[in-house]
């Protein structure tokens, strides 16, 4: 039977996505460049919505770019990752191109699944990205299952569940963590605690802000780490993932971070306490990375200006490519519904 017994894809992935992934291991400048690209793509997405080129909604993550870039820089393409509807950054970090993300957001054929998904539904099997989840917390048990499959096949791949602070109040979070602990699943839980679940600040929805305690409550080794310095965070992820691969047991990392924008494009985020955003802007991940690179002598300001300009030009070009891409033909809605229509 075709496809029966197929295990995790352990073959070496080639192509532009794999190249983009590999770039993240080459050094701090490549990681800075990807963060700039992510910021640029998400700013462009908000503008595309504001200018009326897209209908529906979108959820961006300006301010949290270090998390996805640091994580992707230490994952293998055979690791399977679930993340949320706020997934543009994770997808771009894992290696999806700006064209495929922008194309999907716009509902065009150049999109990662040909435009049938939209902003909340990105995917790329070759890069280990499961379909992103528009239901809060739903990806958490799914990541546990992917980890169990990896264990069954005897591969060294791990499952990764990326979610926000808001997800720690839904049942799927608690059931997923409990299952990972009792089944010794090689899974990394990444909780991006940006202090806001949709429009509500954490103090009105959750009894405490240190969410790593919820991981610890399930007997999972759990820590909180700073989410703004990409290089420190990369080492935290690398150490944690190495530990998971070594003993095949779950770990939980709470990442303290912040999003500068509202929940979705229609949310002006006027509910934030005065000065809160200004404090976080002082530790902007892109600015921190630039300063560290200059301070350590890896590159000077002029070189960084070139890096920035190159990334911004690429984003502008990707917007043009996505806007020029046609929308899907009608037959596209009938494809991939089930095995019979999977042509």
């Amino acid at each position: 039977m075709v496809g029966k017994g197929r295990g995790l894809n352990m073959t070496v992935t080639t192509g532009i996505g794999a190249e983009r992934r590999a770039q993240l291991s080459t050094g701090p400048i490549a990681r800075l460049e990807r963060m700039i690209e992510i910021r640029g793509v998400e700013d462009a997405i908000l503008k595309l919505f504001a200018d009326g080129h897209v209908r529906g909604s979108t959820h961006t993550t300006q301010g949290q770019e270090a998390v996805s870039v640091a994580l992707a820089s230490v994952l293998e393409t055979s690791d399977l990752l679930t993340c949320t509807y706020r997934g543009h950054a994770m997808a771009l970090a894992l290696g999806l191109t700006a064209e495929s993300v922008l194309g999907e957001v716009l509902g065009r054929t150049v999109g990662s699944i040909g435009g049938v998904g939209g902003s909340m539904h990105l995917c790329d099997r070759d890069l280990g990205l499961l379909p992103t989840f528009a239901i809060v917390g739903a990806g958490i048990p799914v990541a546990v299952g992917a980890a169990i499959a990896s264990k069954h096949f005897g591969t060294n791949a791990i499952g990764v569940g990326v979610f926000g602070d808001g997800a720690t109040n839904i049942g799927a979070f608690h059931e997923g963590l409990n299952l990972a602990a009792v089944w010794d699943a090689p899974v990394l839980f990444v909780c991006e605690n940006n202090l806001y679940g949709e429009y509500s600040r954490i103090d009105v929805t959750t009894p405490f802000e240190d969410l790593y305690l919820r991981g610890a409550a399930y007997g999972i080794e759990s820590r909180a780490v700073d989410g703004q310095d990409v290089e420190t965070l990369r080492r935290e992820f690398a150490d944690t993932i190495e530990a998971i691969r070594a003993d095949s047991r779950p770990r939980f990392l709470e990442i303290k971070t912040y999003r500068y924008v509202g929940h979705s494009r229609t949310d002006p985020a006027t509910y934030r306490p005065d000065g809160e955003k200004d404090e976080w802007l002082k530790r902007d991940p892109i600015a921190l990375a630039e300063a560290a690179i200059v301070e350590s002598g890896i590159a000077d300001q002029a070189t960084l200006a070139e890096v920035r300009a190159a990334a911004e030009n690429r984003v502008a070009e990707a917007v043009r490519v996505a806007m020029d891409s046609p929308g899907p033909e009608l037959a596209a809605m009938f494809r991939h519904v089930d095995a019979q229509s999977d042509i």
Partner: protein, 339 residues
């Protein structure tokens, strides 16, 4: 070789046969391993296949059904037991909003070969929260197949096909049939294709369409009648076999649909609407649906036994249709119990 098995044993054999044939098949559920399942479907499987492939889960349907979706996307073929179909209510998201949509939302890159088995239906005194059929929660979900066993042979055959499927499949197991024995021949050739109905009995006066636990009731109702019924076991209720049903209606011109599910919003409405719009010129009489009343499943035996459509009610409805050319009122209206 013909065997004589109870339905629970037959389904257990189907799982075992698939686990022997394919090392990626695993079984997860509450009490399925050490205890062999509360309905003894998986009795002995842990001894043959070990604790890595046959796993007891926490009472945590969202957790383990979600994990099964992820494991299926990553290459396993999980079979998940939901002890009572009502327990799926707390995990519906993982089945209909995640697993059923993964293929679509991955442009075909992440198929989800997942089997969800659940006991269902009334008749054993489990009360309102453990006795529904509830196929209505699932039918019409794109990407999801829903089948219902009607005995040991079909339980075996549907379960084998479900596990072999490249897409998520729910197989409902009418609980009161678990103990019923049937002779059948297991093996690879006994897999029953999903999406196809079976003609249980050919006939010319009326087509009687049933599903799951209603199939034995229909058999009893038509046995020895002086009219000729064509009995169809739908087997897969979503997507159901239009071709077979419409061909039968073209032959008989009359249809009685028998459902162990409330009248309002039942699967029979879809079957009836399709027949009415696509085979109207074949019809010699109104389409009749025999259903339960639209009430929760009652506990007391004298209530529960009437809640489920009886053979007497099915034969009354068929005979009224044949003799008057009209649909008779349901028993609760005829007997003045309710309007």
């Amino acid at each position: 070789m013909t065997v004589r098995l109870r339905m629970n044993q037959a389904i257990g054999l189907a799982i075992a046969d698939e686990m022997r044939a394919d090392p990626t098949v695993v079984l997860w559920g509450e009490d399925v391993a050490a205890a062999g399942g509360v309905f003894k479907v998986s009795d002995g499987l842990i001894d043959e296949f070990g604790p890595e492939r046959v796993r007891d889960t926490p009472i945590s349907e969202t957790g383990f059904l979600g994990a099964a979706v992820g494991a299926a996307a990553a290459g396993l073929r999980p079979v998940v037991e939901i002890m009572f179909i009502e327990f799926l209510g707390v995990a519906l998201d993982q089945l209909v909003t995640e697993g059923a949509l993964f293929r679509y939302l991955s442009a075909g890159e992440f198929p989800v070969p997942l089997t969800v088995r659940a006991s269902a239906g009334a008749g054993l005194g489990f009360g309102a929260q453990h006795s529904g059929m509830l196929e209505r929660w699932l039918i019409g979900t794109a990407g999801l197949t829903v089948a219902v066993a009607s005995g040991a042979r079909t339980g075996y055959g549907l379960t084998r096909s479900a596990i072999q499927s490249q897409d998520p499949v729910v197989v409902l197991e009418p609980r009161r049939l678990y103990a019923e024995r049937e002779d059948f021949e297991p093996g690879d050739g006994a897999a029953i294709p999903l999406g196809r109905a079976e003609i249980v009995q050919s006939g010319s006066d009326v087509t009687v369409v049933g599903l799951g636990g209603m199939v034995p009731v229909i058999r009893e109702a038509v046995a020895g009648a002086d009219w000729s019924a064509e009995v169809i076991d739908l087997l897969t209720v979503s997507p159901w076999d239009r071709r077979q049903v419409l061909a039968s209606v073209a032959k008989t011109g009359r249809v009685v649909i028998v459902e162990e599910s409330p009248e309002r919003g039942g699967w029979g409405t879809d079957v009836a609407a399709t027949i009415a719009s696509r085979a109207f010129s074949s019809l010699q009489a109104p389409i009749v649906r025999v259903t339960t009343p639209t009430v929760p499943v009652p506990f007391a035996p004298e209530l529960e036994d009437r809640f489920i459509p009886t053979a007497a009610e099915v034969s009354h409805q068929i005979e009224a249709l044949l003799s008057t050319g009209k649909a008779a009122a349901p028993w609760w209206e005829r007997e003045g119990v309710s309007t």
